[in-house]
Each structure stands twice: as C-alpha cells, then as structure tokens.
Symmetry: C2
C-alpha cells in the first residue's frame, strides 16, 4: 500500500489556511473557508471591546432600525427567538441595550440601544473596518466591491 503523500505538494498554504486542490473549484468549499477566516478575524478584532460579532450585529440593527421586539430582531438576524434571550441578557448586563416593554403590546419588548451601546458600536465599526481592510488587502478596491456585489447576488438569488 502507498504511504501518506507529502501534502505540501498538492495544497496551497498560507496563513494557516490550506485548500485541497480537488476542492479548490467548489464555491461551497471556498465560501466555507472564507467564512472561517472572516469569523475568526471579526471576533479577534472585537475582542478589545469584549464584544462578539453576533452582539455587534444586534447593536447594528437596533441602531439602524430603531426599537423592536426580540422576535423581530431574531427574524432579522436569522436566529431563533430562544437564542436571542441569552444574547440580549449579555448586552443588557453590559448596559449596551435596554429592555423596556412595548406599551402598545405589553408581551413584547421595545429593545433600544443605549448611549454606551452607540459608543461601543462606533468603536466596533472602526475596529471591524480596519480588520476588513486588512482582510481585503489582497484585492483592489474595485475587486472588493465586486466581491460584495457577487455575494449579495448569490444570496438573494438574482
């Protein structure tokens, strides 16, 4: 039987990420690897703020869309309402978000970002923008724009 081949011969490595050449042409594999890289990058960038990328997304949506319920927030971010509970608990504990009742429907919250939350959001944006710039360094500005455009169209279906 054959011996394990030298993997270096059939991979391209850099920054700890390897792509088996048999999978290098599959969009799914490339997207999965990209996701791993982006996710790690984002959480590392936000670590000085003691903020997770999912919490950043919450602050972002709350700041941009205004007060809303946990249910609506979960739907917007694509996570279950039961999953939102712990996320909001953490953000409330850090005083970045406030839960008050929606007076029109007292079952639901009117979630709102606090002044501290807005401040952290601003800092997070700067950190993420810098990290994204580093991540996108291998691409020109036009190519980065095109990548965003292609991914958007891939997701939306046309």
């Amino acid at each position: 039987m054959s011996v394990p081949p030298d993997t270096a011969a059939s991979e391209v490595k850099q920054e700890g990420v390897a792509i088996p050449e048999q999978l290098a042409d599959r969009i799914g594999f490339l997207v999965a690897k990209s996701h791993a890289v982006c996710h790690a990058m984002a959480n590392e960038a936000l670590s000085p703020l003691d903020l997770h990328i999912k919490e950043y997304a919450v602050l972002n949506v709350l700041h941009g869309m205004g007060a809303m319920s946990q249910q609506a927030l979960g739907e917007t971010l694509g996570v279950d309402r039961t999953t939102m509970v712990a996320v909001m608990d953490a953000l409330e504990r850090k005083r970045l978000v406030e839960r008050s009742r929606n007076p029109v429907d007292r079952r639901a919250y009117a979630l709102a970002i606090t002044d501290d939350g807005v401040d952290v959001l601003r800092r997070a944006r700067r950190l993420l923008t810098a990290a994204e710039r580093k991540l996108l360094a291998p691409l020109s500005s036009a190519e980065a724009d095109q990548l965003r455009d292609l991914l958007r169209r891939l997701i939306l279906g046309r």
Copy 2:
C-alpha cells in the same frame, strides 16, 4: 417609546434569506450568509446518497491525493484528528473507505477509498455540480469564475 418598525422596509428578502441593510456592506456578513446558503444546498443535494458534505470532502481528498493517515486527512480538511474518528467510522460502515495499517508506520492508517466510494464520489460530484449551477444561476459564467478567484485570493492572503 417607539413601536417595532415594519421590517420589510429596511430589508431585502428572497428565498427566506434577509439582509439587514446596515450589514449589507460587510464582507463578513455576506460571507456568513453565503455559507449558510451553500451548506444547506450542498447537504440537500447529497441527501439522496446518504452522504454529508464533510464525507464528500473526505472522499474527494482521498481520491485525489491517495492513501493517507487520519491525522494528515484532518489537517488537510482543517478538522481535529479526534473529530475524524467518527467521520471515518461512518464512511467505513458504508464501505466507502477502508482502513488498513500503514506498513511503514503501524501507528497510522493508510486510508483508501473503495470502489463503492469512487462510485458514490462520482455521483456526488454530479449532484453537487448541478446544485452549484442552480446556486450560481444569478451570475454569468465569467462572474462565477471571478467569484471563485476573488474568494481564493481572499483566503490565501494574496
């Protein structure tokens, strides 16, 4: 306090995937959404073969690179060796791979894809190619190639 706004106004929806516009320009968010779509698509496409996308990756690498150890396979795919055990157990149970000892180093296996494995791999490739074509339908052929190129360069760092 304000009432939850109409979410439809500030999202773009299709095929169940929504993109909050505050995050629509972040590469990380677009990549994460793309990954979710691709992963679901791939596993759905492979379901007739009772094969998971991770098992497909194993068959692909084993077929393309020849016999290798579980350790090396795990490194190639970016998963821990302890995680490989269950994956290989499942593939061996389905008779798609064989574990024989590497005579040069009897601690390690010489993992090999079986004839059945090659057959399943071929069918899986056809299913995935068809699914990928559907997924990439909103893009022209040249754009799909460019997307692959941009993602590869993003991962590799230049």
